[in-house]
């Protein structure tokens, strides 16, 4: 069984002066079908503007994020802040996680906060663990009618897996330390 994803709506945003580039948020409804999963490219200037690993993140199918508003294509948005979060601890009894937040826009100091696990997409729940990285994007959208709407999203970074080459490099460097520090 696979998933077929249809992009229901896309929105283009203008961006604030502090973040260059144009980015899209794809909003889609997954349908369970017998067809093979259809991957789609997610272009996101938020991710592209941030430090990334050499390997591209895996492309994944995502359910509609909770509380993301349906957007009109002509909406103009401003990203107020992007925070890179790192999970410090998780409490499944209280359904919260403690996170260290690093603002990415402007010279703003780090913060800490508790986040309700309900804000995490169902498909990202398996990523919740100490050390996991996520991004919170805080945006405002001015709709065609002139209304201002909030658009806040929490998205876990589905990291690439360690490659064989990376592991070999790690082992080789560790070996060089070991030999250097344990030589007579």
């Amino acid at each position: 069984m696979g998933f077929e994803t249809d992009i229901v709506e896309r929105a283009s945003f203008g961006v604030s002066d502090t973040l260059s580039g144009v980015f899209d948020f794809g909003v889609f409804q997954p349908k369970v079908t017998s067809d093979f999963a259809q991957k789609w490219a997610l272009t996101d200037a938020v991710e592209n503007s941030l430090p990334v690993s050499q390997e591209k993140p895996l492309l994944v199918d995502r359910a509609k994020p909770k509380d993301v508003k349906q957007l009109r294509p002509e909406g103009v948005g401003t990203v107020l802040q992007v925070l890179e979060g790192r999970v410090v601890s998780v409490s499944y009894e209280e359904q919260t996680m403690e996170a260290h937040l690093t603002p990415k826009i402007g010279q703003v100091e780090d913060h800490v906060a508790e986040i309700d696990l309900g804000w995490v997409n169902q498909q990202d729940k398996d990523l919740i663990q100490p050390g996991a990285v996520f991004y919170i994007t805080v945006s405002k959208i001015i709709t065609k009618a002139g209304n201002v709407q909030s658009l806040n999203e929490l998205r876990f970074r589905r990291r690439p897996v360690w490659s064989r080459r990376q592991v070999e490099t790690i082992k080789a460097e560790a070996e060089s330390f070991w030999n250097s520090f344990n030589s007579i």
Partner: protein
């Protein structure tokens, strides 16, 4: 920038504890412009390591640093330590002996920040120090209980610093933890930040004796009946080092790092107790119960900075984030330093000075 006044006299011992709310660094003056540096955090004003900024501001940038100690690898204790090591290249570098194992070295190499920037900041700092040492054909000192960090009598009085921890058992336990995060190419393990593993049994607690003036630096060592603080208070060798009149309280004052025997066996009556807060994590440290407990043992306690401060993200962003987050606060609650000075070998009391946001506990 903080005005730290004047440098210590050559016959003065000094302990200066820096803390920005998330982070800790200690500079110990051993007399005669010689220093011991333990851990590192960043001075938010200079944006450089706090100990470096301190020595520089006192005109002591060319001082002799005998040893730099990374008590453990958590990033709140080693931020900027690679730069400190670069500034004082002749200093011996000490780190817990758990890192004298291939798996632990692989851990540092994996989370060295190169695979994804910002990953494993603490591991990255230690990794960078090891690279420099390896490339300059020097060796770090892998430290365990009873390791001699300094033993010097050249100034006419003995200067000695001994590691009271970690025990071999603590290193084994820490190694197992670290090894579980060493990557394997199984196509499943994602590249993530290295989590800060707790409880902390592998930290280096240090006993420092400067001409009879004794200081206990508790690092983040926590209690465990066999490999934590009890392993120190039950060890005759550790007890024979002498009781300390100054105590850098372990693990930000938390109850997990406090047993009565620390205060009874290792410390003099009512020692001057200093600590840094920890404003990250579910439980901010020290809690009120921790403060009450510390005051049950001493009447003189100081903290390097305040509790968490209100967020500094802008009103609009905070308003939006309040829908997602609770208890948003700054990781750093204001930088401060506690400085203690005493003339070596006299009956004078220690003089306490508070800088920046430092305050009575």
């Amino acid at each position: 920038m903080i005005d730290y006044g004047t440098a210590p006299a050559v016959n003065e011992v000094e302990v200066c504890i820096f803390g920005p709310g998330y982070g800790e660094a200690i500079a110990v003056h051993l007399g005669n412009r010689r220093w011991l540096l333990v851990d590192s955090c960043m001075d938010p004003y200079s944006r450089e390591p706090a100990a470096w900024t301190y020595l520089n501001s006192l005109g002591l940038a060319d001082s002799e640093v005998l040893a730099i100690i990374a008590s453990h690898w958590h990033d709140d204790h080693v931020r900027g330590i690679s730069l400190i090591s670069e500034k004082f290249p002749k200093a011996d570098f000490f780190l817990p002996s758990v890192f004298n194992n291939k798996e632990a070295l692989e851990f540092l190499c994996a989370y060295n920040g190169k695979t994804a920037p910002g990953q494993g900041l603490g591991a990255q700092q230690l990794h960078d120090v090891l690279v420099r040492l390896r490339d300059s054909k020097r060796k770090p000192h892998f430290t365990t209980q009873r390791t001699s960090v300094i033993d010097d009598t050249s100034a006419g009085y003995r200067v000695a610093a001994w590691a009271l921890s970690p025990t071999p058992g603590a290193c084994e336990k820490a190694l197992a933890h670290l090894a579980s995060y060493v990557p394997v190419p199984n196509g499943v393990m994602p590249i993530n930040h290295a989590p800060e593993l707790s409880p902390n049994y592998e930290a280096i607690a240090l006993h420092v004796n400067v001409g009879g003036e004794i200081i206990l630096l508790g690092a983040d060592l926590e209690e465990h009946p066999e490999i934590g603080w009890s392993a120190i208070t039950a060890d005759e060798w550790c007890l024979s080092r002498g009781k300390s009149a100054v105590y850098k309280v372990a693990h930000h004052g938390s109850e997990t790092a406090c047993i009565p025997d620390i205060w009874k066996q290792l410390l003099a009556d009512s020692p001057i107790s200093c600590l840094t807060p920890f404003n990250k994590g579910r439980k901010k440290l020290p809690a009120q119960s921790d403060i009450n407990r510390i005051y049950s043992y001493t009447s003189r306690a100081y903290i390097s900075s305040n509790k968490s401060k209100s967020p500094a993200l802008g009103r609009e962003v905070v308003k939006e984030l309040n829908g997602i987050c609770r208890n948003i606060s700054r990781a750093n609650s204001g930088f401060g330093a506690i400085r203690l000075r005493k003339t070596i070998g006299t009956d004078q009391e220690w003089r306490v000075e508070l800088f920046g946001h430092a305050n009575t506990l």
